[in-house]
Symmetry: C2
Subunit: 202 residues, 2 copies
């Protein structure tokens, strides 16, 4: 008969994969990806140092899985931020930007891991797809803006490059947290305003 997860450990951990991912994320945020050791994780979780092998082919595979969960969470957040049916396009854009910034501020190390995905040569297909999905919400927003006459006509995916660059950079800056004592969250609307102005028909 199967026992609850809260039991004192049986021979089979029962939830090792999840436990490892959870422990990994904690030390990732606390001490960075380079300080993360599979052996240490195993110790924390109370399992031999060769056990992770069953669930993750190697250390990179564990980091990939972690990034994957990050993309899932980001996706949910972005979907929620975009779903809100506000009339004002500028507000919609701001909500979208705010969602990115919030996520990155909440999980800075995970965010870096997610960004690295694009640059890593041998990343698994599944992960690359998740990455593409997360970083390609721009064109849809641009089309929206064009539909309501707030964005100049032109190839949406090309125009969204401007939007994407601005957002990525904004997040990159925001990871520093503050600017002259003002929290980045406060600055987002102003920056988004300028981004939008640059894309506006004149």
């Amino acid at each position: 008969m199967p026992r609850l997860k809260t039991d004192s450990r049986p021979y089979h951990h029962g939830n090792l994969r999840q436990a490892l991912l959870q422990a990994a994320e904690m030390t990732l945020e606390a001490r960075g990806a380079s300080d993360l050791s599979l052996r240490e994780l195993s110790r924390e979780v109370g399992v031999s140092h060769t056990s992770p092998r069953r669930h993750f082919a190697d250390k990179q595979a564990l980091l990939d899985a972690l990034a994957q969960t990050g993309f899932q969470r980001l996706d949910a957040i972005l979907a929620k931020a975009t779903k809100k049916r506000v009339r004002n396009f500028a507000t919609r854009l701001t909500n979208f930007a705010q969602a990115y910034v919030e996520f990155a501020l909440k999980h800075p190390a995970l965010w870096v891991l997610m960004l690295d995905t694009k640059h890593r040569p041998g990343a698994p297909r599944e992960l690359l797809e998740a990455s593409d999905a997360a970083f390609s919400k721009g064109p849809a927003l641009i089309k929206e803006g064009q539909a309501v006459g707030e964005v100049v006509p032109g190839d949406p995916s090309r125009l969204s490059l401007t939007l994407g660059a601005a957002l990525l950079g904004l997040v990159s800056i925001s990871t520093d947290g503050k600017f002259k004592g003002v929290s980045i969250e406060t600055l987002v609307p102003g920056i988004v305003k300028h981004i939008l102005l640059g894309l506006r028909p004149r």
Copy 2:
């Protein structure tokens, strides 16, 4: 009597610090910062694995020194790009952006190292200063733009946040190299145009 650096190795390497930094940059760009090993570097340079200690307190110190040289080089490139006395402000801005993008494309791993400086808690003062200098060329350009009426009035350092975000993001995207088969260098002017439009008085 002192001998030339090209001599077959004497007991004292004579140029160990430089040799280590050079070897480090090669393997950094080839295989990333996490694959960089002091012992391997020592082997390549032909010295015992404890020798680097004389020149770098630890591995991080070597990476810091590497980042420092990066900032020096970037600084020279930015200075050159800004010095060109072109009349058109948009062109000046584009040259500036182009310089960033070129540097990051040429030394992607070094660029990441340089960016990390800001987020690393115990970075040495000297390095933080170099980082600040490299990432704070914006306000001066904004003031320039305001002087010729191309940029809205307002706190230059605050306005340059928009510029800085766009540039950082642009670089981040450009590290991917291509967009629909078009090199990023070709796309920079268009993106800068939109950035500038967003900052323009109306």
